[in-house]
């Protein structure tokens, strides 16, 4: 018997693995993009130098308030025109839309990764007027650049000053909040052995930045508030002699970014996200060495990571987080948002993220959501993710401001049609691979036919009937363990 077209994977195993790890999930257009390149590594290399992403950028027009200046955003919030939480919700939905439609998936994944390391919740009172600006000017341009530049941009940004109280940190009265998290979360980490005095010194170097939180959120730098005088952090002396301390702060941040302890922490976090919850130490060491040798070059680190044998060996060792699952499900079902009005499908899938356990940009503490995927595998999350899959698998319900393929385009033009082939055909379309034995059996159980069933009767050929069969088959595919792993 001739194979039904579209029942064999088009990408080799390694390419599938690379794509699962560095994108928001399989999609036909992505697969075609990979195939246009010499091999998966060539595709990855191209992804590391993203161009303009027309489709992703176009979604910004759906959220006009995201272009408001900080002053306007605050004015709107104060006047009850548009609340801080709405600004936050817009940023969440905009980011999710980008991740669903973007061509340069690796860039979106890295924006996600750094946003989580340098986490500022969206819609938070002291930072929301600047939060979109933080995303657009601090995180995105540096997500595939150097960590040194990223760290400077993030730590000195008004959103960070507002969130971690640096706007209240002055030479007269030191506020340790940002100075401590800079050491603990963003650079050298606790194991570097810094003292409480080091924390205070770190905070002193950060004095001078101003944000009129609760007034008009105007941001600036006031040398009169900057602490002048030599300080020591982890044994390193900073003269800090100038009234304007920004040059000294940049030197301090560059020094922190280049510390081996920072290299080890960034490398481990990258390996936990992209290899496994407990990555091989040799991979962490290799990435850390590249980080230092390359002057904190993020692309160089990613190249080292994917070339390490530990990466290749780690297929399916990570579970998708709730957000990753929601996004992969949209892409598997080829659901494409076309707008984000009230009650739109974008609202639905954004809501599903929180309902299944991980509302984006809402983690309540500065350490970001856990990168360990087993944290998200609670039974409650499993039940809700299965349920959300069932909704998204439905091939005939109407979506508001989103498209999905017509049922006719999902059915192979072959007759009679063996059930097992149909399941593989759907699985390849949705996940890029054939269905497992259990998934085929599961689909057959849901349909209440034997796995050997062949659709051959005239009424079985009706679109409405096949639409329902496809809904059940797609439910089985999305709810299988391998579809929840990456």
């Amino acid at each position: 018997m001739v194979d039904l077209p579209g029942t064999q994977p088009r990408l080799p195993e390694y390419a599938q693995h690379l794509v699962r790890r560095f994108t928001y999930g399989h999609h036909g257009r992505l697969e075609a993009d990979v195939l246009r390149h010499r091999d998966a590594d060539a595709w990855f290399e191209a992804q590391l130098s993203p161009g303009r992403d027309a489709e992703a950028d176009a979604t910004l027009a759906w959220f006009p308030h995201l272009e408001d200046s900080a002053a306007v955003a605050w004015q709107n919030a104060r006047d009850g025109v548009y609340g801080g939480w709405q600004y936050g919700n817009d940023l969440v939905r905009y980011s999710l839309c980008r991740r669903v439609v973007a061509t340069f998936q690796v860039h979106e994944v890295m924006v996600d990764f750094w946003s989580n390391l340098l986490h500022i919740p969206a819609g938070e009172d002291s930072s929301f007027p600047w939060r979109m600006h933080y995303d657009a000017t601090a995180i995105r341009p540096h997500a595939l650049g150097t960590y040194r530049a990223l760290l400077r941009a993030a730590v000195t940004h008004p959103a960070m000053s507002g969130y971690l109280s640096n706007h209240r940190n002055t030479k007269a009265q030191i506020n340790e909040n940002l100075g401590r998290e800079l050491l603990e979360l963003y650079t050298v980490g606790r194991t570097s052995g810094y003292t409480e005095d080091d924390v205070k010194s770190s905070a002193r170097l950060l004095t001078g930045f101003t944000v009129a939180v609760g007034k008009d959120y105007a941001a600036g730098y006031d040398p009169a508030k900057h602490f002048v005088g030599a300080v020591t952090v982890l044994g390193q002396r900073f003269e800090n002699a100038a009234a304007d301390g920004r040059a000294q702060l940049n030197a301090y941040l560059d020094w922190l970014a280049g510390r081996p302890e920072t290299a080890a922490r960034i490398a481990r976090r990258l390996c936990v996200r992209f290899i496994s919850d407990d990555p091989p130490q040799s991979a962490v060491d290799a990435v850390a060495a590249t980080y230092l040798d390359s002057g904190t070059d993020i692309r160089a680190c990613l190249r080292t990571l994917v070339r390490h044998p530990g990466f290749r060996a780690a297929a399916f060792q990570k579970a998708r987080t709730p957000v990753e699952d929601v996004l992969a499900t949209q892409r598997a079902c080829d659901i494409v948002p076309t707008g984000a009005g009230s009650g739109s499908h974008v609202d639905s899938f954004s809501w599903q993220c929180g309902w299944t356990g991980q509302a984006p940009f809402s983690w309540p503490r500065p350490d970001g959501s856990p990168e360990q995927s087993d944290t998200y595998l609670s039974p409650a999350r499993m039940l809700r993710t299965w349920t959300a899959h069932t909704w998204m698998a439905n091939t005939s319900s109407a979506l508001k401001q989103a498209t999905r393929p017509h049922v006719r385009d999902l059915i192979p033009p072959v007759w009679p049609l063996p059930l097992e082939d149909l399941v593989h055909h759907q699985a390849v379309m949705m996940t890029g691979r054939r269905a497992s034995r259990e998934t085929v059996d599961g689909a057959a159980t849901l349909i209440d036919k034997p796995a050997t069933h062949v659709f051959s009767k005239t009424w079985e050929r009706e679109t409405d009937h096949l639409a329902w069969m496809l809904t059940l088959i797609r439910t089985a595919i999305l709810n299988s363990p391998e579809a929840m792993l990456r």
Binding site: N169, N175, E176, P364, D367, P379, T387, D441
Partner: protein
């Protein structure tokens, strides 16, 4: 008084997973799933009269000296010129301590001797990192690299090993204290916790059978999560039905408050009688680097109202429930430049409800200059001693030495002996 090391609980080595492992059942298709289901249903009713521990995590580092104010100390007022709680506003003060006035909604509980306030509690050595300190508090096994939380070890001591033994309410992300080999789960509430199409006469059973088959391999992380989800699905109906009835006995929770919502769900869970033994509730928002006065006042008010409503809501079940608050560290003695407090050390802990002998407790180190640790309140009582005292009084089957290995503990006497 030092009790030394307690004996380990006898059944700790015979948990369900070990049973399965020794019987060679893990990973064997079908069998472990079926056995899992049997264990769950057979223990569902047996444990309904057991005592219950509710752990309220005040994440962010709650300021103990604003909550349980050492008003006899001049150093307290000197270090906090604009944010100290004035003597005249204190609630139920004695010669040494007084509660923040926002504790007023707990007046009945305090006056009936069911609320203990315990000061100068914390980790044995200072740690001013939120994340590391919380990790240490919840793991509570210094020197061990195994990622098993203390609540998970408590659950391990119960004869039933049931997914309902240990529950995190309010977030679907597992806290460190619950992570470990014993089944437990995290949820925001108990609605919509069923398998897809659960109410459908034909598709419901088919879906359950498909999921049971797909997730039958308990040897994988995802397989185990799937099996526990299927076990959960069988019983959440009872709980969500109870939750839909709303608060009972005239209890009124504060509106739009996440703690109130989580405790309302917890009350329904307890009333439903499915056999829960430990509930962990996260209540964040205590990291008051800026303008602490009005912020903490609001937090304490919401917490007090939520706890008061919870105990009312529980009705007769309240006699089984003990609540304890935990925070990763206290805050500095001296205020910072933003009318707030940076990360400090010694802290106050509150125990409320069943078995508690109310009042103020502390091996008070004083705030004298020589007694401070790097400018902060010292710790004279290991937080694990506080938890151990509650466990010993309310859960005699739990071996304190298993839950807190190597702990040399001191008793404060704030619990009635079992």
């Amino acid at each position: 008084m030092t009790d030394g090391h307690d004996a380990s609980c006898a059944d700790y080595g015979v948990t369900r997973r070990n049973l399965l492992k020794s019987a060679g059942l893990i990973g064997m298709a079908g069998v472990s799933t079926a056995m899992f289901g049997d264990v769950l249903t057979s223990t569902a009713y047996g444990a309904t009269t057991g005592n219950i521990l509710v752990v309220l995590s005040l994440r962010g580092g709650a300021d103990g000296m604003s909550m349980m104010v050492p008003h006899a100390e001049q150093a307290y007022y000197a270090a906090r010129p604009s944010i100290a709680v004035e003597k005249g506003r204190l609630f139920r003060p004695d010669a040494t301590f007084g509660l923040h006035p926002s504790f007023a909604p707990l007046a009945d509980l305090w006056d009936s001797g069911r609320m203990a306030a315990i000061h100068a509690v914390g980790l044995p050595t200072p740690n001013r990192s939120h994340f590391e300190a919380m990790e240490l508090v919840e793991d509570a096994d210094p020197g061990s690299s195994e990622r098993i939380g203390w609540l998970n070890r408590v659950i391990g001591c119960f004869t039933s090993t049931d997914v309902f033994d240990g529950i995190q309410v309010g977030s679907t992300v597992m806290p460190t204290s619950l992570i470990g080999p014993e089944p437990s789960f995290a949820t925001s509430d108990f609605t919509s916790l069923s398998a897809p199409w659960a109410d459908h006469a034909t598709l419901g059973p088919r879906m359950r059978s498909v999921l049971s088959n797909m997730y039958r391999d308990a040897g994988t992380v995802i397989g185990r999560a799937g099996q526990e989800a299927i076990a959960l699905d069988r019983r959440t109906g009872t709980i969500s039905a109870e939750e839909k009835k709303g608060p009972q006995n005239g209890a009124v929770y504060p509106q739009y408050n996440e703690l109130g919502e989580a405790l309302a769900s917890s009350a329904a869970l307890i009333r439903a009688g499915v056999g829960v033994r430990a509930i962990a509730v996260d209540f964040g928002g205590w990291d008051h680097h800026v303008d602490i006065s009005w912020r903490i006042s609001h937090q304490i008010d919401q917490m007090s109202k939520s706890i008061a409503a919870f105990l009312t809501d529980l009705g007769p079940h309240a006699s089984r429930v003990t609540i304890v608050t935990l925070s990763e560290f206290g805050r500095r003695l001296g205020q910072n430049g933003a009318a707030g407090l940076d990360h400090g050390y010694g802290n106050a802990v509150f125990a409320l409800g069943a078995g508690v002998q109310g009042g103020y407790y502390a091996n008070w180190p004083t705030l004298a200059t020589g007694k401070q640790i790097d400018g902060d309140l010292a710790v004279t009582t290991d937080y694990r001693s506080v938890l151990a005292e509650i466990l010993q009084a309310r859960f005699p089957e739990v071996g304190v030495g298993t839950v807190f290995p190597g702990l040399s503990r001191t008793s404060l006497g704030f619990m009635s002996p079992y």
